[in-house]
Amino acid sequence: MKTRMSPSSTGRLISIALVLLLVVAGAAIGQKKFAGKSIRVLYFSATYADAAKEYAKEFEAQTGAKVEVVDFPYTTLYEKMGLALSSGDSSYDAVTPACQWDGEFEPFMTDLTPYINRDKFDSNDIIPGLWEQSGKWNNHIMGIPFSNTPQTLAYRTDLIKKMPTNWDDFFALCDKLNNPAKGFYALAIPGVKEQFDGLWMMVDWSIGGRWADKNWNVTIDSPETRKSLDIAKRWMKYADPAAPAWGLGESDAAFLNGNAAIAFSWPTLGIAPNGDDPAKSKVVGKWAIGLIPYEKNGVTVLSSWDIGIPKAAINKDVAWEWIKMYTSKEKQLINFQKYSILPSRISVWALPQVKNSKLYPHWQASQQGAVIWWRIPAGTMAETYVRDSVSNYITDQWDQDKAVSYMEDGFKKLLADYPPAKGVLNTGR
């Protein structure tokens, strides 16, 4: 004999089912979009990584995705990134190449154009011209630039009323300020070759020199190259004798300790974050940012970093959300105020907190013109020819003819072995 369920049992079952449904729905509503996912992002070990580490918790709270920030010093970042990208390693979901590496790494990076179009990323807010030098290559958008740092200098405002704008006046000022007997030098310079070559470049370009013309014909052997080598060598007469062995840290420390009047540096990395901290600086309130003297144009060296997604990345959507957050207007303002990271957005540069800051002269330097050297795959090797050549010349190991011919022969060999892709012009120097 069949038995039917009593009305009370049926009702109980329905109630339980409804409650379960409500619980599941509630859980789904509370669950974040990328809960359970994680990304690993690769940064340069400086203020950029520090900012990223600060935002990681906030990003997780907003999206549910965990962020692991990995950072390396500049000297090793290129090879870590290069090896990971070229071997198809999926360790990183987002990487931050320096703009000079874009040409080498672009084949291994995701084109961000579909993401930009889908989410209507405010591309017009990026400084015009910057994206062309940092993040765009070969008609692809491989990264969003998040920093825009033209090379400048820092100087003592208690000793120098106004920075000279040409090299003759500059050296006249150095003659006046230099006092080695009292352990005070006109210049604090990072003499190690990986820093010094950039200093030489900015002089060479600012007096009209070029490594090659726009069609890649090598033009390094020029009066401008020779004059800029002499200027660079002359600097060393006004620098601490220990300078040839100094890195950026030691050079900045000499300036912050009050032992130099002018620091050739990337001030945003060491001087700006510490210059007005009495615990770390003896020049509190006595420093400012100045532009590099020039003769023909105000072109200086650009340091810009962009952030993109490797083709081998696993969590590309999450990585894109991270990129949008890190490059947002809000975060670029925090990056500027807390970490001295110069923004890539026009709207952030226009904010009063930025316009009235000590770092605002960088905007002027940027407007005058900041360029990077060759972004082609052979660019890193080309830079090394410059490094060796300039370093050997200023330490009197090579004469000028040898230094120039070494660069010229090296560039020609590189361009022959690894020619730029068809249609790619030299938009740098």
């Binding site: 000297t75 290129y78 090879e79 290069g82 090896l83 990208l85 070229s86 071997s87 080498e104 790494f105 084949p107 291994f108 352990g183 003499g191 190690v192 070759k193 990986e194 601490d240 004798p241 220990a242 300078a243 040839p244 062995a245 100094w246 030691e250 000499a254 795959p377 890193t380 090797m381 090394t384 060796d388 370093s391 050997n392 330490t395 009197d396 190991q397 090579w398 070494y406 072995d417 690894y418």
Partner: protein
């Protein structure tokens, strides 16, 4: 029947010995021979890891480029000078130190323990420490020398002396290594040799020159070989102290190969340089081995 058993045993022994040696062969194959062979193969190509489209077979061009590349030759010259000088200093001071420590006083045993400290510091740490101490303006070495009236020396900033500075740092770190090994060889010598010499009225110098040095020479030669090869492989100290600078004054082959292979991802060229490096090291090891064999024959 006896002959058959002996033959059988002999074959079994041979087979067993191959079985025991096989794991080592397999490991060496996987970690040494195959990578070396692959490196040799790559050395005949123009091959940049991040530009696979530019890969091309170029035969011996990489090798020819090495001999016309000024920087490679300079690196090799720097390496040879560094290895020659540092090993000479380490041997000289190490042997003297070993002689001083060869008595059995408690003081000697304590001193040996203290002397081991530089040896156990990682080269990267040692290089970083010395880089700070040798700074021309802020370093403690120049500060102490100033009390003797010595003006500031640009130890790692002057290209004329940077290489010799690295030699001193390397010697500081590895003199204890030489001293300890030579000391153990001295202690392993039969006492009767020394006692007999003393009874015959030999002076301490004669005892050292005619007995101790010849008897310990096979060990000294091996130590020299090990140090020479290690000195040629120097990387960490150079990387952190000078980066190969000023200019290329302290560039060594390993740092140069690293630059080509890891920084530039120029695999073909760096493989060729590495192959030549291996051949050079093998030749050096062979020379020392022959020297040692000859010395062993001499001392019977």
């Amino acid at each position: 029947m006896l002959v058959t058993r002996t033959l059988y045993q002999s074959r079994t022994d041979k087979a067993l010995s191959w079985v025991f040696v096989l794991p080592v062969i397999l490991i060496l194959l996987a970690t040494a021979f195959i990578p070396l062979g692959w490196g040799l193969y790559l050395s005949f190509f123009r091959y940049k890891l991040n530009l696979p489209s530019a890969t091309a077979f170029i035969g011996l061009k990489n090798y020819l480029d090495i001999f016309s590349d000024e920087l490679t030759l300079r690196s090799l010259r720097n390496n040879a000078v560094f290895a020659g000088l540092s090993v000479s200093v380490e041997l000289l001071v190490g042997i003297v130190l070993a002689m001083i420590l060869s008595d059995d006083r408690r003081f000697s045993r304590v001193l040996v323990s203290i002397l081991m400290v530089p040896m156990i510091i990682a080269p990267v740490v040692a290089g970083t420490l010395w880089r700070m101490m040798l700074d021309r303006t802020y370093g403690v070495v120049n500060y102490l020398l100033s009390f003797l009236g010595v003006p500031g020396i640009s130890w790692i900033g002057d290209p004329k002396i940077a290489l010799y500075t690295i030699v001193l740092v390397d010697a500081w770190q590895f003199i204890p290594f030489v001293a300890v090994l030579v000391l153990s060889s001295i202690k392993a010598m039969p006492r009767s040799f020394l006692d007999a010499a003393r009874v015959d009225g030999a002076s301490p110098w004669k005892v050292f020159w005619s007995i101790i040095l010849p008897v310990t020479s096979p060990v000294i030669i091996i130590v020299a070989m090990l140090r020479f090869i290690d000195a040629f492989k120097v990387f960490d100290t150079i990387f952190v102290m000078t980066g190969g600078g000023p200019g290329n004054a302290t560039e060594m082959l390993p740092t140069y190969i690293y630059r080509q292979g890891i920084k530039f991802l120029n695999i073909g060229y760096s493989s060729a340089t590495a192959v030549l490096f291996v051949i050079l090291m093998s030749a050096i090891a062979l020379v020392f081995q022959r020297l040692r064999d000859r010395q062993l024959l001499r001392i019977g």
